[in-house]
Amino acid sequence: MVASTPAKKLFSVTLRVWRQASPAQPGKFADYPAHNVSPDMSFLELLDVVNDGLTVSNEEPIAFAHDCREGICGTCSCTINGKPHGPGKGVATCQVYMRSFQAGDVIVVEPFRATAFPIIKDLVVERSAFDKIQQAGGFISARTGAAPDANSILVSKATADLAMDAAACIGCGACVAACKNASAMLFVAAKVSHLGLMPQGQPERDRRVLAMVQTMDEAGFGNCTNQYECSAVCPKTITHDFIARLNRDYVGALFRSKLQPVSASAGGGA
């Protein structure tokens, strides 16, 4: 019961794609013409079709990262015509449809570029630096089984909604790719704000922000110079206001970290 393709006007484009066989080898652009493109096709579906063509003609297909294809897993990561995730607003690469392009367009496709995101192959980059930042402090320590009744801690609707705005981050790294400094501030700000807004996140709030920022710096991400390219390309339209919140949290935590209780160095006791 697969539907026949409706009679929509088909067109042709050229994909100019970054090809790089391995991290150590130099890369270059290569052109691939694509014909019979339907406007209802997704951009990644066009890559699927081009790749099948390459396979049949004995060429190696284009490696590209993708998984859920509904804009939530954060795997897909192409810079299309110079913009991470392409022409749409508030969408990931997998949610770009060919109706966004014109017949005859040359579409330039590159990986997300940043020192902290080394290229693995073609359009696929290594983003494990994000996981390292999470491991440093992106959590609320809540041992399984030790939780109180969920309604015992009330959270105002406004707080929960704002925390959810920040928590919507999919960890794709477009913010880093868009930033001229390759800064991960929007990513870190989203996580720090989500957890720092929730009452459950207060006990570890200072420790969290200090640890996450330190790990971010060590991973080779740059600093924020308030250009807001990050929020402009964010597929979840996370606002750069959270960066201001991160800075406030960080400065406060830094001050408070100097005020150690006397007992802090007193050892474990009897």
């Binding site: 939530i72 996981d131 809540a142 399984t144 969920a150 960890g171 459950q200």
Partner: protein, 640 residues
């Protein structure tokens, strides 16, 4: 013949889990660090299990084929998670969730498992709230609820339309915490390609590093598979493109039984197919059925008209008409088949005639557009991105699509397969949903298994085993498994074929959808059992896999997965053919009531079918685990 002992504890239903927990063996805290556990998969079940086991003190190795645990497909679940908090004071209870789930599953699940699931559901909500999951709240600060299909109470907790994402990020943060402490060794970009069995016990896995192609061997005292479902056997589904059956299929080939593989869930509310290039079907959350009304034109002559031009009197709100007490919130299998019947009658809408309307006009009139936008805004946005249509102004068009697989590896009450030491969690096992899963129950089961069941039950197994930390990965069992993985890789790469893998996947998907999809028949399944082996022969002779084994090679990954899907598809058809009844998601046209509802045969098929591999080309063995209903009556499911 496999020994299938369900190990259901004795005693009254409501006491079984409590009593079992007090009776099973424990591993003392100092000894826990001597045991190593492999967890494959890092969705809700895998991440929650890995984090919790590490918290307990076990040494955990976590393997995930995605580049980060946060990308596992649990992330895409939209609508919510059930929990019997009864915060709404609307009559919910553990027993009611138990009963709804059992009935929703068309009386094909184990009573004891389902009851345990309902019991721990409230703990899950507590656990997730403590992790900082930003659940939807009332203005008072209390948690908000919504309703889901197959229930008459509001027990579903949610975080906008991204509940799966938020719960997974909660589990991922717990896992990240343990990775940061060095208690979990995380292996992303790592695909399990074989299970290693030593002296009859699961003792390790063979893994391919997807970035470098390196094949490595890993030993452990127990292996947990939490690798999700196999709906991509249909090619087009709501699954992530890379979701696959390989981990559980390779375990099946090592002796683990595959239970009820034909139980497939077809979700009623997905965006219809638009063309042959299509790679993915996108779900529109079931939560939309809280406020959206489903209809088709009463008259065939109206199907090409603009929906706004069809008068109220000429619309057939068929779910409300046929199932007045559940209406638009009828369970998924029921709602999907009803949509198919409408399309079969020639009343489907859209360019292909394979669609029905999901209409929000009444809700917008009642609540106002801003309230509808707040509840479902992100779903309306997704709909707009894909179809370029505005669902605030005109109804959505939806059609059923493959969404979940209730079948999976057979497990006992302790979630251990028939291979000792091999545990299976979440969608990868068969245990809790019977023949149909209710909405908002997948997240619940994944987290129940990982946070609250396996931490207890795995101890019972390990306490009876000596720690085997020194198990040598150069033993013949590991060597043989690793060599067979390498041999398959080389065979695929050297094959002198001409067709890309995707061609075979598409063809398999068409066979499965046509013959083993929403409605199944004896002749259809028999013809599928002819077509699939022929497709396999063609695949072996003609698949073309470019590139090398030593780098990232997505064609190679796909080829291995599709080869397994072909084998699994055949088993699904065999299972569907043998099960001569209709139940839940398994609908055999020969077995239905005059009104088109499922006709079960409890006498002949009130059991679990657990298939046992007998070697390549051999017909697998069909083992049976009888379902003994001690506390509930297997009745005819009615939502009227």
């Amino acid at each position: 013949m496999a020994k299938l002992d369900s190990k259901i504890p004795f005693g009254p239903l409501a006491d079984k889990w409590q009593q079992h927990k007090t009776q099973i063996k424990l591993v003392n805290p100092a000894n826990k660090r001597k045991y190593e556990i492999i967890v494959v998969g890092a969705g809700l079940a895998g991440s929650s299990a890995a984090a919790t086991l590490a918290e307990l003190g076990y040494r955990v190795k976590s393997f995930v084929f995605q580049d980060s645990p946060r990308r596992a497909h649990s992330i895409a679940a939209q609508g919510g998670i059930n929990g019997t908090k009864n915060y709404q004071n609307d009559g919910d209870s553990v027993h009611r969730l138990f009963y709804d789930t059992l009935k929703g599953g068309d009386y094909r699940a184990r009573e004891a498992n389902v009851h345990r699931l309902a019991e721990v559901s409230a703990n899950i909500i507590d656990q997730c709230a403590a992790q900082g999951v930003p659940f939807a709240r009332e203005y008072s600060g209390h948690l908000a609820n919504r309703s889901f299909g197959g229930a008459q109470v509001s027990r579903t907790f949610y975080a906008r339309g991204q509940t799966g994402q938020q719960l997974l990020l909660g589990a991922y943060s717990a896992l990240s915490r343990m990775v940061g402490q060095g208690a979990v060794e995380l292996h992303p970009n790592s695909e399990m390609l074989d299970l290693v069995i030593v002296d009859g016990h699961a003792k390790g896995v063979i893994v391919r590093d997807l970035k470098t192609g390196a094949i490595t061997r890993h030993s452990a005292d127990a292996v947990i598979l939490a690798t999700g479902g196999y709906g991509n056997v249909f090619n087009l589904s709501t699954y992530a493109r890379q979701s696959n059956t390989t981990a559980i299929w390779r375990a099946y080939k090592r002796g683990a039984c595959m239970a009820n593989p034909c139980y497939t869930q077809i979700h009623p509310t997905c965006i219809p197919v638009s063309g042959d290039y299509q790679s993915k079907l996108t779900l529109m959350s079931e939560s939309l059925r809280n406020d959206g009304r489903i209809w088709v034109p009463k008259n065939k002559a109206d199907i090409k008209k603009e929906p706004s031009a069809i008068a109220e009197a000429d619309r057939d709100y068929y779910l409300e008409r046929i199932y007045p007490s559940f209406g638009n919130l009828a369970p998924r299998d029921v709602a999907s088949r009803a949509a198919m019947r409408m399309c079969d009658e020639g009343r489907g809408v859209g360019e292909t005639g394979l669609g029905v309307y999901l209409d929000f006009a009444d809700a917008i009139k009642r609540l106002g557009e801003p309230a509808v936008r707040e509840r479902y805004g992100n779903l309306f946005d997704i709909y707009h991105e894909i179809t370029a249509e505005n669902a605030y102004q005109a109804p959505m068009r939806i059609f059923p699509a493959v969404h979940y697989t209730m079948g999976g590896l057979w497990v006992d009450y302790n979630l251990m397969s028939n291979v000792p030491g091999l545990f299976v969690l979440g969608e990868a096992n068969f245990s809790d949903h019977g023949a149909n899963r209710l909405g908002a129950s997948a997240l619940m089961q994944g987290l129940a298994d990982g946070y609250f069941v396996i931490p207890y039950t795995i101890g019972d197994y390990l306490a009876q085993q000596k720690p085997s930390a020194q198990l040598n990965i150069n033993r013949p069992e590991f060597k043989q498994a690793a060599e067979s993985v390498s041999a398959q890789t080389q065979q695929l790469l050297n094959n002198p074929g001409k067709e890309p893998v995707s061609h075979f996947h598409k063809r398999l998907g068409k066979i499965m959808w046509e013959h083993c999809g929403m409605a199944r028949t004896k002749p259809g399944l028999e013809s599928a059992l002819q077509k699939i082996p022929a497709l396999r022969e063609e695949f072996v002779a003609n698949v073309k896999v470019p590139g090398s084994a030593e780098t990232l090679n997505q064609s190679l990954e796909k080829a291995g997965r599709v080869a397994d899907f072909i084998d699994l598809g055949e088993l699904m058809c065999r299972d569907a053919l043998t099960r001569e009844e209709s139940c839940g998601g398994h609908f055999r046209e020969e077995y239905q009531y005059p009104d088109g509802e499922c006709k079960r045969d409890d006498e002949k098929f009130g059991h679990v079918a657990a298939w046992e591999y007998q070697g390549p080309g051999q017909t697998p063995l069909r083992n049976i685990e009888p379902l003994n209903y001690e506390f509930t009556k297997m009745s005819v499911r009615s939502y009227k």
